[in-house]
Symmetry: none
Subunit: 217 residues, 4 copies
DNA sequence: TATGAATGAGAATTCATTCAT
DNA sequence: CATGAATGAATTCTCATTCAT
């Protein structure tokens, strides 16, 4: 129970902007780097402690559990990443009917890419652990489904009704969009090592055109 | 050296069809299931032994190392999966100039999906470990690059010259194809739990049309 | 690297007199006794832990490796045993030309016997492992050769030039001295169980006379 | 019980010259080499089996136990080595009163050195294991004491009475002789790697002179 | 709050030994 | 006689977690 309380406390901390200790900060930063690099299972708390210049006990004083440390790092990201998408971009689109789907897509892709570019390491952790841990998957995917997929589905239907995109089942369209964007993100941020030299502008453009018109001449 | 010899012996075994013991068989099967499920790092040899109804020592008598057990399971798959693609489908296409790119795509996708459907669990292991282990990635990706990507690139150029697909840089086209097909496979076989009720015919069709023409109306 | 660091840390500890934990102390003591008794290979870390009243993990927290534990026990002894010989006794002899070889011999033998009497167990460990482990032998013997043998050879030559000992090849004389003193130490401290009732005075005298004049009437 | 019977059977076999199987022979030879090289504790039966070109089970079929294999190799050597000394040389000396102690010593040393030169590996095994295993030591040393030491003591007394050697306590003389010869053998056959290029004639001469007259000029 | 020594439950691996064929 | 697959106890080592200071 202490563990859950601790986690809650940390989540709370994020919201209420109660300052985390300097050490706590350092632990989180270090953990992120190491988890992203070697994966959660292959990173020991003692390594983290050493790299963070902190006693091993300190990690547990703050996070209670290694699992908790992982979640403490992941959750704030998700809390921002998923809704973050909605807040700004979606609302505009739902109202403005001058915006074309292509522009909508372009905006979202660029927006999320920039966000992930700034949080590459956490993104890598999430992708890796999502694939690795059935448990995490079971917790995350439904959440993702309701928070993201539904919104996108909604948008798709809107644009379908406007006649901008093909009149295929929303499910099928949604799936293609998610696969393409997901594959794109994973390829660029997890598989390929060229994290810095990424021309977002160009990559976005290629992706949008591909999604809109395919490759047929 | 014993370790490598053991691995070589196992690879050899695959080729020469020297019968593996009943227990050895059971160990491999069980390991595949468990690795696919929980990931390599989260599966202990003692769990595998218990689940396979075998003494833990027996695993090591046959595979020498846990790593080895993983490789023994992965390598035969890769040996078949990667070249398997080339042999049949590619050659036909390079000669027949009646085949359209769409058909080429359809054939390859269906063919590989069927193969992976039959080897779902190993595919899941490979995807997971590829993302998880830098080491595996460094060994596998270049191999994949030379064996698969180059062939596909070749095909793309062929069809570009025939005017069937857009005259974009081969790299860009290749990337989109790989992302889409990869994302598709991962979504269907790794992320989603509905492994059995997959309508290959229909899924393939959706994918091909999406890749060819995008979603614009 | 952690392993070596740990070993270095322990060596360091010896010099800088940074207090080892009480448990660490106990582990070392217990290990010395057991290694001396049953040999390194026949003593398991779990036995040591049990005998030391410590959790097995504690051994590894402090010493990292079983090998390391052995070295941590041996090295400080060697660091003192080998140079220890030289510092005091040798220097005097090289200057004073009143000292006879017989006295020189007597002093060294007595001095080293007393030292070993106080460190019997470590001496037993070293002798056993030296014979048992090719590896240790290869590391230690050359070191012994340069640090001890050379000095003794030097002294032998000095006394030969003074006409006190036979004009035989230094090598041959050296070999006889080493064999006799070595055999003497091993017999008294390793083979025979009467470790306590040893009359150093008398034994030294016998040995010196034997070496000087042999057994002929 | 089967184990002991097996050991007895093997001892018996040696005497009654019942042919050991070809495989059995190979196992013994290989074991001798490997025990001499790496020590008993560091040599696994599976290694022996592999090196001997034999199935692991075969070792146990013949020797029942790894311990047994060791003994089967050691005992025949001891049975010959220890009494072997007595039979020829001692008897002559006890009768002939023309023989000087120096010649007696020379003969024994040369005789035993030749024997050990031919059985180097077993000698190395015995020395190593004698130091390593309290158990072996407790069995062997008393046996050695009654069979060898007593005879030598007897001879010493004889020569003392003839006035050829110093009138010191037999114990003390005996000890010096054993230490010197033992140290000599261990140095030449166990510690030093130059097993082949040993000038027995010369080494014997050096040793005898040293023992007789010491190093004083 | 922070420390770091101590823990003990497992983890991978080794190996002598057994036994059915 | 010989084989070699199978065993399971023992071994070294790792690591998240606790707790006294």
């Amino acid at each position: 129970m202490t563990k859950d309380n601790l986690l809650d406390a940390i989540i709370e901390q994020t919201k209420t902007s109660k300052k985390p200790t300097e050490k706590q900060q350092k632990i989180a930063e270090t953990a992120i780097k190491m988890f992203a690099d070697k994966g959660y299972a292959n990173t020991s708390t003692s390594e983290i402690a050493k790299a963070a210049g902190v006693a091993e006990g300190t990690i547990f004083r703050h996070y209670g559990t290694k699992d908790n440390l992982l979640l403490s790092v992941i959750i704030p990201f998700l809390k921002e990443a998923l809704p973050g998408m909605a807040g700004k971009v979606f609302k505009e689109v739902l109202t403005e009917d001058t915006v074309h789907f292509e522009d909508f897509l372009r905006r979202i892709i660029k927006n999320r890419m920039e966000f992930i570019l700034e949080n590459q390491e956490i993104f890598r952790i999430i992708v890796k652990e999502l694939l690795y841990s059935e448990e995490l998957r079971k917790e995350f995917l439904p959440y993702f489904s309701t928070n993201v997929m539904r919104r996108v589905a909604h948008a798709i239907e809107l644009f379908k009704s406007r006649g901008e995109i093909k009149d295929l089942p929303t499910d099928a369209l949604l799936k293609m969009l998610m696969i393409t964007f997901g594959g794109f993100l994973v390829t660029n941020f997890v598989l390929s090592p060229s994290h810095n030299t990424l021309d977002i502008e160009q990559e976005t453009e290629n992706l949008v055109r591909f999604v809109m018109d395919g490759i047929r001449n």
